[in-house]
């Protein structure tokens, strides 16, 4: 056919120009997709727990010595790990993308710098607004907290009583861990519900606990 085609074909994904990041999809599309992710992980973990049950000993011992809730919490723990791992992959890619696009290929090397990068830039791009607050932990030197009144991923999710401490914000905790880890700040990141007086839904706090080496490096850099 004569004439230039409208869309230029790229043989390699690396040759395609990077988008500006302004494209949007509806919130419900994301919410449906996220709910499928959580549901899929629930079935997978049931399978693992089922496997463990067949070889009963370990679970039985846990239950005997730690009480029946321990078995349940093992399942919850496995689910959280899987959700966090999914988030980790997202976070690692976010760092690369945002450093290139928003920061002109500069990556933060200082602790406060990377924390404010996560708190403002990453949050703004992924969730459309900066995080509600960034605080330093009072009890421990290596703890920082990012708080959000209602995490985007938790908006349409309610946790049944028997799931106890399960928080789908583990996905966001995974994203933060992915960004920090890829930037050279290894940390343990978890998501917690913090009930607030006067509010029906609890606030979500992402707790970041940096590894020893990060603090030593910060101290050295002065």
């Amino acid at each position: 056919m004569i004439g230039a085609s409208k869309i230029k074909q790229y043989s390699n994904v690396l040759e395609k120009p990077l988008s500006k990041g302004k494209q949007e999809v509806s919130l419900s599309a994301f919410a449906f997709l996220f709910s499928e992710l959580v549901q899929y992980n629930q079935t997978q973990v049931d399978n693992i727990a089922e496997l463990e049950r067949r070889y009963g000993v370990i679970l039985l011992l846990q239950t005997m010595f730690l009480g029946p809730w321990a078995a349940g919490s093992e399942i919850v723990h496995n689910q959280l790990c899987r959700l966090e791992d999914a988030g980790y992959a997202v976070g690692a890619r976010c760092l690369e993308l945002l450093c290139h696009r928003e920061k002109g290929n500069r990556r933060e090397t200082r602790l406060l710098g990377i924390l404010s990068f996560v708190h403002s830039t990453v949050w703004k791009v992924l969730f459309g607004k900066v995080a509600d607050s960034l605080e330093k932990g009072t009890e421990h030197e290596d703890e920082y907290m990012i708080s959000e009144k209602e995490l985007l991923v938790n908006r349409f999710i309610s946790i049944p009583k028997d799931m106890g401490t399960f928080n789908c914000g583990a996905f966001v905790a995974g994203i933060v861990r992915g960004v920090l880890d890829s930037a050279g700040f290894p940390a343990v990141v978890t998501a917690h519900f913090v009930p607030m007086e006067g509010q029906q839904r609890p606030r979500t706090t992402i707790l970041i606990k940096f590894a020893e080496e990060v603090l030593r490096r910060e101290a050295r850099l002065g």
Binding site: I7, Q9, N12, V13, L14, S19, G21, Q23, E24, V25, S26, L27, S28, A29, F30, F32, L33, F34, E36, L37, Q39, Y40, N41, Q44, R82, D85, A86, G87, A89, V90, R93, C94, L97, V125, L126, F127, G128, L152
Partner: protein
């Protein structure tokens, strides 16, 4: 007062809450990666993606009908048009067009202009049989099943496999009459 007429896809998309497409893209990528790690077989992953899409579709159709105000579609042609023009626009923010109608009007192709699911994606050699966007075919199949149409949705062309556009084939197998769980005269 007459009920409001059907709204265009653009109008609805502008009125719903939206999120950054990259979060959506990366989350979908994480899902596919998890499936590949767990299931290992590409065919299994395709089936699981289709099943996830089906689960999404059966709930998505309620939201679609609520927000878009479309009236009952007269025939399958109208259904396909509505899916392409309103449905895709409303949820994914992309336009689509319907082509290749067969003689009986039961089989058509939906061509996507753009696909937010595949930004940044390249299929490695080990996964050449993977239908990366298979969740979309499940969504359409699930949604149509909830409105009494049994369909078969397959991928005809896939950019990740080397074609130039995304093309889905939607084939109507049969119209299932609405079944009521109770008898009228009891």
């Amino acid at each position: 007062m007459a009920p409001a007429g059907p709204r265009s896809g653009d109008a609805i998309f502008a009125s719903v809450e939206r999120v950054n497409a990259e979060l959506f893209t990366l989350t979908y990528g994480a899902i596919v990666r998890q499936l590949l790690t767990d299931l290992e077989e590409v065919d299994e992953v395709n089936k699981q993606l289709d099943q996830m899409g089906y689960n999404i579709g059966i709930r998505l159709v309620d939201e679609f009908l609520a927000k878009s105000n479309v009236s009952r579609c007269v025939d399958f042609k109208e259904t396909a048009e509505v899916i392409a023009k309103v449905g895709f626009k409303m949820f994914l923010g992309v336009g689509a067009s319907v082509t290749n109608w067969d003689a009986e009007g039961t089989c058509c192709s939906i061509v996507l202009e753009d696909n937010p699911l595949v930004d940044f994606v390249e299929l490695p050699d080990t996964c050449q049989g993977l239908y990366y966007c298979n969740v979309l075919s499940g969504v359409i199949r699930g949604a149509l099943e909830m409105v009494s149409m049994k369909t078969e949705v397959t991928w005809l062309r896939d950019v990740l496999r080397g074609d130039d556009v995304f093309e889905l084939q939607v084939k109507l197998i049969k119209q299932v009459p609405e079944e009521y769980p109770y008898k009228d005269d009891e």
